[in-house]
């Protein structure tokens, strides 16, 4: 296994013209992180442009294209709201609707990043085979697309939040760092999916089923309290933390829907999960990166 090692170490002032590239194998199978990170940063505009053009190609720049990005999760929200209303003994409340939308929109960010990520390397086809660049830019670009699609849904959430009279205070601001954790988490998963898709081209076909099950297991339709109670009843409260979304969405919805500070265990678990997934996902991607050029 080997590495792209873009040593930019050259004495000349104009680094572009007289760039010195060294390509040599690497013992650990992962490119050297310093130069790799520098290249990622230097070419970030490519990821942005790729995401922009793919969104343009998907007609998300038109009015109805944009409206659909909001309408789709909103309609889904209504469907699940109806479901909760029918299934639960008590009639569903505005508070529940607010909780549901907050979770559903955040889940759409994760699932959107994952499915776009799955297609990113395989869809990059000829670019991957013919141009040398840090491949992580491809899943990163997918996450950016997911995030840009997520932003307008937050506008809708804000309307619902005020309409249902949910609390707004300085605590609400904490949603921003939690969103940061969710984005990191999505990035790791997008990189993982991108790698799997290269080896198993039916990954993207399995993904919707997996995502649907994951949604039902996460505190989106139910609250964290309900899940906690279920596991506590059998004395296995910690099992809930096995699902990363238990802590991440627990914080997210607790802050937005309840206006309360997250519990320390939630913060610790959510942070550990996010960092674990983003570091693990990206390193796994990088360890397989060299093979992409011969596997597509």
């Amino acid at each position: 296994m080997s590495t792209i090692d873009h040593s930019t170490s050259v004495d000349d002032s104009d680094e572009y013209r007289t760039r010195h590239h060294v390509y040599r194998p690497h013992k650990t199978g992962i490119p050297r992180l310093g130069p790799y990170a520098r290249e990622l940063l230097a070419r970030r505009e490519f990821a942005v442009e790729l995401s922009r053009t793919s969104m343009r190609a998907a007609n998300t720049a038109t009015f109805f294209g944009r409206a659909w990005l909001v309408l789709n999760p909103l309609l889904l929200g209504f469907v699940y709201f109806l479901l909760i209303d029918i299934l639960s003994p008590k009639p569903a409340t505005g508070e529940q609707f607010d909780h549901l939308l907050a979770g559903l929109f955040a889940f759409t960010l994760i699932s959107g990043s994952m499915s776009a990520g799955a297609g990113s390397v395989v869809g990059g086809g000829k670019m991957v085979m013919n141009v040398a660049f840090p491949r992580l830019l491809l899943p990163f670009s997918a996450v950016r697309t997911g995030f840009m699609r997520f932003l307008p849904t937050m506008g809708v959430y804000a309307v619902v939040h005020f309409a249902t009279g949910r609390p707004t205070s300085f605590v609400t601001l904490l949603a921003v760092p939690v969103l940061g954790l969710i984005v990191l988490f999505s990035t790791g998963l997008a990189a993982l999916m991108a790698t799997f898709q290269v080896y198993f081209r039916d990954t993207a076909s399995f993904l919707p089923y997996f995502l649907r099950i994951w949604l039902y297991l996460s505190p989106v339709l139910f609250t964290v309290e309900v899940i906690h109670r279920k596991f506590s009843a059998v004395g296995l409260a910690w099992v809930a933390y096995v699902n990363p979304l238990y802590s991440l969405f627990g914080m997210w919805s607790g802050i937005l829907n309840q206006g309360k500070l997250p519990e320390p265990t939630m913060v610790i678990a959510g942070t550990i999960w996010s960092l674990l997934v983003v570091v693990g996902g990206c390193l796994f991607f990088m360890s397989r990166e060299r093979e992409f050029a011969v596997r597509l």
């Binding site: 013919n130 040398a132 060299r290 093979e291």
Partner: protein, 265 residues
Amino acid sequence: MPSVSETTKPEVAISVQDLSITYRTTFEKVPTFKQAITRLGRGERAVFEVEAVKGVSFDVPHGRTLGIIGANGAGKSTLMRSVAGILPPSSGRIDVWGRVSTLLALGVGFNGHLSGRENVVLGGLAAGLTRAEIEAKGEEIAEFAELPEGFIDMPMRTYSSGMYSKLAFSVAVHMDPDILLVDEALSAGDASFRRKAQIKMNELLANARTMLLVTHALGSVRELCTDAIWLHKGRLMLAGTPDEVIGAYTKFLDVGESAITLEDL
């Protein structure tokens, strides 16, 4: 070793030392989880190892054109891709001084759903150019590619194959490369475009640019190249002037593999 002439310390553009490239790939065209499961049940594996390049060393000084010839499967394209940094070595080392532009056989980094212009911008950004640099070249690229009016803003899936390869060629030569890697792409377009491409190539070479050329057209090697190497089954067989190398290669083709062994060369 080719082209490291006796002249005092030539400025080297590309240095390849004891390069070996091995990679694993699969028999399957579209590998799926489903097939993997079925194979697992039968205890088969679809992965095999390819030793594409074995212990190859050579240097290319600035301003020279190196022709790479050899039969199919000799490792020519793999060698080119590793010089471009797309496929890093399994062992050995490659040093490249300068900005590399590639024109490889597999086509260019083009997505059919995006317009020609968008593809040019994306390809340039991926290759590490700045947006300003690409935009400055945009018109020139479109003009040189001789695309019919308005086609540059049309999705690339509407392009003819000639338009496709002409745009690819145009992008590669306009990216201001110090080193141009060309793999089987000289046949782009019609006769008049080929002539224009030839002129542009000579112009680049005149400006002391370095070029690596992979081709089966031995005539092009004689015409364009200052040096040549011959690869066979991943090994470097001979390096020298184009005439020497082409001579040995054609002799080898005529006589057949059995008559000439590695030791003879």
